[in-house]
Symmetry: C2
Subunit: 212 residues, 2 copies
């Protein structure tokens, strides 16, 4: 494939949405989760996010990026007020509803009702899970770090419990999220299923890799 060079100076001249689409595509494929929270008044909120990333296994920490809170962000306020949130993988049956949660609904509306997804509660957390999701995590908020460079906020939480299909857990602990139906997103709005090529053995110098 013929590659073309695009310099930083060209980014500045791009139309705002063109630039957003292009730059958002560059990091590679992204996780796509529904962030479930609830307000002090009991209003549930659901927001699709593509910035969740693994931070550590012991303790089990996840991070995600909150956009600048220059406008009201219900999810952000809910997390700060009661400390709990859920992350729920999108799958093919619900990805359109998931995407629709990014519409700007009024604060008093619940995205669960608006898009037609079902809240599910465990005894451990206040925040609602998405019943239709096949891989769900419940988290306790631990810390936020502001990125002064652009006003975004790194949100860090610890996993309190998970709901996963045990039929998808391999002998070595690997959870086959492809088998669980999880999707991935590229750019701002492209949703993909996946096709596993292989798992590769732990790499060591001078030892050939094996497919496992």
């Amino acid at each position: 494939m013929q590659l073309d060079r695009i310099d930083k100076s060209a980014f500045a001249d791009m139309e705002r949405f063109y630039r957003a689409h292009l730059i958002n595509s560059l990091s590679g494929f992204k996780s796509v989760n529904l962030l479930g929270t609830v307000s002090e008044e009991g209003i549930t909120n659901l927001a699709v996010i593509s910035s969740v990333f693994h931070l550590g296994a012991d303790p089990a920490l996840m991070g995600f990026i909150m956009r600048p809170v220059t406008v009201t962000r219900d999810s952000y306020n809910n997390i700060l007020s009661n400390g709990s949130y859920t992350l729920n993988h999108l799958n093919e049956a619900i990805y359109k509803q998931g995407h629709q949660t990014s519409a700007r609904y009024p604060e008093e509306a619940s995205e669960f009702d608006e898009v037609g997804l079902t809240p599910y509660y465990s005894s451990k957390l206040k925040a609602p899970y998405v019943l239709e999701s096949q891989v769900k995590m419940g988290l306790q908020f631990l810390e936020k770090k502001e990125i002064e460079l652009n006003g975004t906020i790194l949100m860090i939480g610890q996993i309190e419990e998970i709901f996963v299909p045990s039929a998808c857990i391999s002998e070595d602990g690997y959870l086959d999220i492809e088998k669980a139906g999880s999707m991935t997103v590229s750019g701002l709005d492209a949703y993909h299923l996946t096709q596993k090529r292989s798992r590769l053995s732990y790499a060591k110098p001078d030892r050939p890799l094996k497919e496992i």
Copy 2:
């Protein structure tokens, strides 16, 4: 699919690698990039990382997570010493070589030579690109933030230039990274191709989504 609940308390009892596989699978599909750097002495380094994420489009910022620097991390030292690094998407032709860069080679060895990938240099950056990659970014290091909770480090850089197949850029700026052959990773070692289901229109309340 039958879901099973696993509590945080069970994580502590898991064998260390079992836990690492499970927790690393939970965030969802991840980007997979080769991080290219060079030392003051001119020794090139290449490391596969699955934690690159989008931080902002204007300015164009990318983040990634560096594991604790309790052992020597050549990439980390190289970035701090000369400020430049590259991120190069893995594709099917090179994913095994990419995975092999995670082996612990001696500091004086170059992973390019060890795994058989070709360094490519632009006039703008010191750090080497991976010739065989179809989506490449060159970055200037801007800032690091230590995550005290577990000693990992958030590394933030600004995109200086990109090399992408212009045949994969849509009219609205979206870069079709599936068409470019980019892969995604789940857990620690599972590599996947993707199959696009659809792109969805910008969501607004009371307006049905369209596939675009």
